[in-house]
């Protein structure tokens, strides 16, 4: 099979899965017995909002039902939903009072940014420790690192996040260090910010207005921070460094959530890397490399690791999915309005369009990243394509 055939085949396989995701989420969210129409109007359901042609009063509740299409049969609702979806209309959120597409567009970059940095922590950490662990098999370091790998997998991530908050975010105003999380005026003390995406107290010294990230930006604050071209930024004292200040602020706010997610997912990576490298180290070509008289470092890093890393690539897709799943809890604790938190909120307030929108987009991200990983894998290891 040629590479492009492989890609096309994999792309075609995405379609039934995406359809399945739509059907599944639609079914579940319509199984929910609670009345979304009633949840939306609360205690004002009885208020008359209009009259029918015959002069009968229409209550707010009935108007809601009509507007949400709940009087139609389920199949019609599904058909309508899919038709709208294909036209780019994701529906209207009842909790955010905005189109779902906008809600998701705001939330997705936050989660992606966080997951990206979490994996940026997890992969080097897991792989390095995995290599050392495999090289020192059955020695003290191996035992300890394996224990910690299992311990990290066993940690409840929400609890770990709270412990990190306790450890790193205690207020220490007397320390005099100044606090790296409070780069502007140094009044807050403390170290890493406990929650939020950026410091709300990050304001101009003169008028007290907050720095605004560009509204139409990418949504990734790390990138957006360099595009804040507010004229007033230039008026800041030089030591604040304007855009660099915003960037640092975002980065510091990302530190704890990413460390939490990253460390939690580095455990399984360590185990995979160790197992994979141990297998490779018994291969003939490693023995050949040793027999040639290469240094042990070169044998392990250049000859063995390159091959041991190949199976690790396949895990990348799954770990992106895992990071997004773990983001549900991490975002709740660190008050990031990413997709996880949006999902929790929409489920609590029975906001069906958002539930379905978020689920679809997370599924799409997961599937696409898996696709990319598989293609990468097929390029690295051409044997895969033959199957």
């Amino acid at each position: 099979m040629k590479l492009h055939e492989f890609v096309v085949r994999r792309l075609l396989l995405l379609i039934p899965v995406l359809v399945g995701v739509t059907v599944l989420t639609f079914t579940i969210s319509h199984l929910i017995p609670a009345d979304a129409a009633a949840a939306q109007c609360g205690d004002k359901c009885g208020i008359v909002t209009g009259y029918t042609e015959d002069g009968d009063p229409i209550s707010a509740y009935e108007a809601n039902r009509e507007r949400m299409g709940m009087n139609e049969p389920l199949t019609t609702q599904f058909r309508l939903y899919v038709t709208h979806l294909l036209h780019g209309d994701w529906g209207e959120s009842s909790t955010y009072h905005r189109p779902v597409a906008d809600v998701v567009k705001d939330a997705a970059p936050i989660t992606l940014e966080m997951s990206f940095f979490a994996l940026l922590i997890a992969y080097p950490l897991g792989i390095t420790l995995g290599i050392i662990s495999a090289v020192r098999q059955d020695r003290m370091f191996d035992h300890i690192s394996r224990f910690f790998a299992i311990a990290f997998v066993s940690l409840p991530i929400f609890w770990f996040a709270m412990v990190l908050q306790l450890l790193f975010a205690t207020q220490a105003p007397e320390s005099g260090v100044g606090g790296i999380c409070d780069p502007l005026f140094g009044t807050n003390g403390g170290c890493f910010p406990i929650y939020g995406r950026h410091d709300p107290s990050l304001t101009y010294p003169e008028d007290g207005f907050a720095f605004l990230y560009p509204a139409g930006g990418t949504g990734f604050h790390l990138i957006d921070s360099w595009f804040v071209t507010d004229g007033k930024l230039a008026t800041l004292p030089a030591e604040f460094g304007s855009n660099w200040l915003l960037f640092k602020d975002t980065l510091l706010h990302l530190a704890l959530p990413c460390a939490c997610l990253g460390i939690a997912s580095s455990g399984s990576l360590l185990r995979y890397m160790r197992a994979s490298l141990l297998e490779v180290l018994h291969e003939d070509y490693v023995r050949t490399a040793r027999a040639k008289g290469l240094s042990e470092f070169r044998v392990v890093i250049v000859h063995a690791c390159r091959n041991a890393l190949v199976p690790i690539v396949t895990i990348l897709g799954f770990s992106i999915g895992g990071a997004i799943g773990g983001a549900v809890l991490t975002e709740t604790i660190f008050a990031f309005n990413g997709m996880g938190r949006v999902a929790v909120k929409s489920i609590q307030y029975l906001d069906f369009p958002v539930i379905m929108g978020v689920t679809l987009i997370t599924a799409a991200i997961f599937l696409l990243s898996n696709l990319v990983v598989d293609i990468l894998y097929a390029i690295i290891d051409p044997r895969v394509r033959l199957e």
Binding site: L13, P16, V17, L18, G20, V21, L24, T25, I28, S29, L31, I32, P33, A34, H143, R146, F147, I150, A151, V153, S154, L155, P156, I157, F158, W159, F160, M162, V163, Q165, L166, T170, G321, I324, G325, V328, L329, T332, G340, A343, V344, I347, Q348, L350, I355, V358, T359, T362, A363, F366, L367
Partner: protein, 579 residues
């Protein structure tokens, strides 16, 4: 009918086989243990798991108080400065108690004395009771607005340390209605055998409602273990069935099942479980319509009988009949007829429609009858004599040899019946599978719903691998039916990774369940569930880290135990380690 003595030889033979199998498994176990104990971590894991299980069993003996204690009564709605007590672990407040005394009530009853009592406690029989406390020292007294009063206004009766005497100034001061008294107590009734003196209640501290965290953490182990083990067992069962069907039959079935699994993998499990819990939130009991309850065992029996008959009696001569299709489906029609007959007449026939034992007995009757019809039907169509049937039936129901029935399958059937009977109740025209379908059951259902595809994929891979082996081919060539090949030949050779995954999954399930509870979609508020305890501590944890530290540690330790155990088992079942 054979006599008891005639079965002597059969009995001896069966017993010998049983004992052989037993000694075989004993040597298997001892060899596995030898491999297992090589790893220190695995042994530690086993110890952790064993201690958590022991704690969960002995929770009511070790715990200081029942964790579901209702504390509404200690909270005075009118007290503005009411400061909830969050005692730190090993603090001196551990054996302090705060009691409200209603002076209005005292004056109305013309009583000058008050009995020192604990708050309402819930006993294991779900009844409220109060302990009488013996007071050592009065610590603090305040009125219902939070202003301090002189503690010497109340004194302890010198003869009985449980009785507090109100001074005349207090009794006659009509501006005071309710007062709050804090005193140090010492009580044998409150003293748990293993506790150090003076820390009767809070070696883990108390929460904002004054409840003992230690008891909550102890009882939490019951909830977590229950969820973990039930969910893991059911997901394994469902995943195994689906996965082996998918792997064995391959082709289109496989394709469809795997795409469904992909759908489940694509959605983050936690989000899916959250949505599912919400979807079930209005369910108060899990009921099954009677027709489904009868249909499932019926279909099962039908399928097994069919394959059994097909393999023992040649059944291909039927298709040339004109009414072939009708005749072939006759037993189905007859079955449906009998079924509807029974179901429609159900309450009238038995009159005792509320009794589940009757129901189960009736269902058994229907199944037996159908079995007989299925069996007889073939004979009718083929016009063969019934001679063999009686012999086979009497042979298969050999009462002279009880050892025969000591097989895994029979035991499993009996366990299943007992479980069904234990959990089922009945209302109206439906079989109640789970009577009280509370939040904990809902989490379990949600986690089962999201968990099975992982196992299905795992087992499918194993089945695909084992399927190509020679012994499967051999079984197929002697005409063994698919079901038998799948479950008797392939699965026993594919269970090793399943066992590992099962153990690891108990830990994983405990984590996910506590995560769900943490978000607020899991256990009902007030339950002693570890995730919920951590979640409830979120408002105070910066100043009172003990509120979240111990429940979280408990989750981590339990999960760690199961993960280490799973790793150890992985080493044992690894073919490389078999010597």
């Amino acid at each position: 009918m054979r006599g008891w003595d005639e079965g002597e030889e059969d009995r001896k033979e069966s017993l010998k086989r049983l004992l052989e199998a037993l000694s075989q498994s004993r040597s298997d176990i001892s060899r596995s243990w030898r491999i297992y104990r090589r790893s220190l971590l695995a042994v530690v894991g086993l110890l952790l798991v064993m201690s958590v299980v022991t704690i969960s069993i002995l929770a009511s003996r070790i715990a200081v108080e029942h964790p579901y204690r209702n504390l509404q009564d200690t909270e005075d709605l009118w007290s503005i400065d009411y400061e909830p007590r969050r005692a730190h672990p090993f603090s001196e407040e551990c054996d302090w108690h705060e009691q409200s005394i209603s002076l209005t009530q005292q004056r109305r009853n013309e009583m000058v004395t008050v009995v020192a009592e604990s708050d309402d406690k819930v006993g294991d029989d779900n009844r409220y009771y109060r302990d009488t406390l013996s007071v050592i020292e009065l610590v603090h007294l305040e009125d219902n607005l939070g202003y301090d009063l002189d503690a010497s206004l109340i004194s302890i009766d010198p003869n009985n340390s449980s009785i507090l005497v109100l001074s005349p100034e207090l009794y006659d001061n009509m501006s005071l209605t309710t007062i709050w008294l804090t005193y140090e107590f010492d009580n044998d009734a409150m003293h748990v055998w293993w506790m150090p003196d003076g820390y009767e209640r809070c070696i883990f501290g108390t929460n904002d409602q004054g409840q003992d965290m230690f008891s909550k953490v102890l009882y939490g182990s019951r909830v977590s273990l229950k969820i973990g083990i039930t969910v893991a067992m059911l997901t394994v069962t469902i995943g195994t069935i689906v996965g082996s069907v998918s792997g064995y039959f391959g082709g289109r079935v496989d394709e469809v099942i795997m795409r469904i699994c992909d759908v489940f993998f694509a959605i983050p499990g936690l989000i899916l479980a959250m949505a599912f819990v919400t979807a079930m939130s209005a369910m108060t009991s899990l009921t099954m319509p009677i027709w489904l309850g009868v249909l499932i065992p019926m279909l099962f029996l039908f399928v097994t009988f069919r394959s059994y008959l097909n393999s023992t009696i040649a059944g291909d001569q039927l298709s040339d009949q004109v009414m072939g299709s009708l005749m072939r489906n006759r037993n189905l029609f007859l079955g449906l007829f009998v079924f509807f007959f029974f179901v429609s007449l159900w309450p009238d026939l038995f009159g005792t429609s509320d009794s589940r034992s009757w129901r189960i007995a009736a269902a058994m009757g229907v199944i037996l009858l159908l079995g007989v019809i299925t069996l007889a039907d073939k004979r009718f169509i083929e016009k063969t004599s019934f001679d063999g049937v009686g012999e086979r039936v009497s042979k298969s129901l050999d009462w002279t040899n009880p050892w025969r029935y000591l097989t895994l399958r029979t035991v499993a059937v009996f366990v299943a019946i007992v479980v069904l009977y234990r959990f089922s109740g009945s209302t109206g025209g439906e079989i109640v599978v789970i009577k009280d379908f509370d939040r904990l059951w809902q989490i379990q259902a949600a986690l089962i719903f999201t968990g099975w595809p992982g196992y299905a994929r795992l087992i499918r891979g194993q089945v695909l691998y084992v399927k190509e082996m020679t012994f499967v081919e051999a079984a197929r060539s002697v005409g063994a039916p698919s079901g038998r090949i799948m479950f008797r030949h392939i699965l026993p050779n594919a269970w090793a990774p399943l066992l590992v995954a099962f153990t690891l999954d108990i830990g994983g399930t405990i984590l996910s369940a506590s995560g769900l509870s943490f978000i607020g979609l899991g256990a009902a508020p007030g339950t002693a569930e570890w995730g919920l305890l951590v979640s409830e501590s979120r408002r105070y944890f910066v100043n009172d880290p003990h509120l979240m530290l111990y429940p979280g540690l408990a989750i981590a330790v339990t999960t760690l135990g199961f993960n280490l155990l799973g790793d150890g088992i992985r080493d044992v079942v690894d073919p490389k380690n078999r010597r």
